[in-house]
Symmetry: C2
Subunit: 336 residues, 2 copies
DNA sequence: CTGAAAGCGCTAACAG
DNA sequence: CTGTTAGCGCTTTCAG
């Protein structure tokens, strides 16, 4: 910067003014500085600026699984909106691991991010509480945080699961098993709640041995489904709580040479590329993933602009895909 | 930091020494400082450190499509290796857009990253050249960069495509169409080259109207496949150059109510979750994705440690999945 | 083994 | 409209 100032024959204060498009600089000087910048191929240090002004134009995004298409779609949306507002995104992967989550949060703070969007890996005792009370703008996404006053964007998990399971009941199923995610995460608990409610409202009582509450991973889905399907009294349908559990369950189904929609019905959350295309008989509740991400980012930007805003809890509606509608939905989303 | 120094009754120089695990600090002082850090819940500013030492422990990773499972698997590998070495990863999405690519590169430099791993969006005139000559450690991954002396990790695309197409020929196909990515990207060109070579070596001549060179997107794959499949003289097989093209092609196949492996054979690069499970008749060349990412990261860390190292070009072997082997491969990779 | 002091590159008063 | 100056939080000589 000194160098630029020297070449342009001005002080570095003036260079700074030009850089930040401040007024009180004559057109002539401005152009001289621009020329010097070009000539030297100068790039301002965002690090120094961040240190000085004590805030950056970086948003932290901490997802719990970078390989899960749901989270990458979310990341994509966050990136888009941030980019439109000249913010950039620091994307990290907590791996569903509270230790890593805490570590990355610390790191983001150390890096002076302007705010953080997080998919919390547990709903209580979150390190988020402390950061928020320190005034760091934060938004929780996909999963709620208990006992923390924080902007939140989630979907109506109870309602979505309820619709899905009701739909399976309407298809004639009376014995519907469930493989749902850990009950310490709101999505897992709420979707399970919707499942139970749908059964109860139709006079059905679930068999306890038909219910698996497991970590939301592919291998858990696989193991659980295998155990379910190998029973002599296997259920006629399985409700799986998220996409990874579904993939695992599908693996088990195929391994046992069963057919989805014929030997066993499957109902699940999350639309995945190819899944609806190749498995038209799958019952799917699709999340408005892109919208979740963009709303969350907007919320975060609003809070950065005005930290005194009251916190908001946004609940978006998922969409039950009709069997005929699957392909149409897939096509539409692929077009984006 | 001042605060910690005050509470511990030492100078901030000493606090710094404790923070960085430097010697020449008595055990007693060290403990006093640690206690103060705990008590105040102090987190050092990485921004200030980065400004002072003019380097950070951040690696930049610039991928061309954050929603492509190939790149997220890559990101996962980079993240893992970086994390093991106490580095963190700044992940950005160039969106296959040279403008965004240049912008993010500038940004990463401004943020003082220690080095960059990039999947270049074009093979010539890359802004990477300049950064490298400025001494910034960089690694190109998945795609080569022409006329730039840079560490590179790619797979043997020619060989992989050759094997795949040869395999289809062995299955009896004589009329194999191709939908390959832009020829300004090395993967697109090399895979096309392998395709041509396989045909030539078996005395086959491709029909020009059966060859589509298009951007590597799902919609290009869809459009191209649709046009191919709607011809009265449609081919018996299609070679698609990457996973997105494949997904698009699959969409066209399903829309026309054709069956993979019966009405039309498909051969493609990249293994995708579920794809091999649900489509056992797909011919697939799988990339050692995780290894690509980990080798690239290792290369970058080596160069950061010693910038004078000669550059390396690593070429990894892809694996042709036998039809029977698909499921086994899928299972194994899912276990990771 | 510890402290004082300079300075990384930038911004923001404050003067002029 | 432009320059001078102080200082963001840290590391790193150099003295003691």
């Amino acid at each position: 910067m000194q160098e630029v100032a020297r070449v342009a024959g001005v002080s570095n204060a003036t260079v700074s003014r030009v850089l930040n498009n401040r007024e009180h600089v004559s057109q002539a000087t401005r152009e001289r500085v621009q020329a010097a910048i070009e000539q030297l191929n100068y790039r301002p240090s965002r690090v120094a600026r961040s240190l000085r002004v004590n805030r950056s134009r970086i948003l932290g995004l901490l997802v719990s699984d970078i390989q899960n298409p749901f989270f990458t779609a979310l990341a994509r949306a966050v990136d888009d909106v941030a980019f439109q507002h000249q913010y950039t995104v620091f994307l990290c992967n907590s791996d569903e691991n509270t230790g890593k989550e805490a570590l990355y949060l610390d790191l983001m703070v150390s890096e002076n991010v302007a705010g953080i969007i997080i998919t919390p890996s547990r709903e209580t005792d979150s390190p988020c509480q402390q950061l928020i009370s320190q005034g760091l703008p934060m938004v929780a996404v996909d999963r709620r945080l208990l006992d923390v006053d924080i902007d939140t964007v989630v979907i109506d998990n109870v309602g979505g699961a309820y619709q899905l399971v009701t739909n399976m009941i309407a298809d004639g199923h009376r014995d519907i098993a469930a493989i749902v995610g850990s009950q310490t995460i709101t999505t897992g608990r709420e979707r399970y709640e919707g499942y139970l409610k749908a059964l109860a409202d139709h006079g059905l009582t679930p068999r306890p041995e038909m219910i698996f509450k497991v970590p939301p991973t592919e291998s858990s889905g696989y193991q659980s489904a295998l155990r379910l399907l190998q029973r002599p009294d296997r259920p006629t349908a399985i409700f799986t709580g998220n996409n990874l559990l579904t993939v695992g369950a599908l693996r088990a189904v195929y391994e046992l040479n069963l057919r989805v929609g014929e030997d066993i019905a499957l109902g699940t959350f999350d639309e995945m590329s190819l899944m609806t295309l190749l498995l038209p008989d799958l019952n799917v509740v699709a999340q408005p993933t892109y919208e979740i991400g963009s709303v969350a980012t907007q919320l975060l930007l609003n809070r950065i602009a005005d930290p005194s805003l009251p916190t908001q809890q946004v609940v978006l509606k998922p969409t039950l895909l009709s069997k005929d509608g699957n392909l149409a939905y897939y096509r539409q989303s692929a077009r984006r």
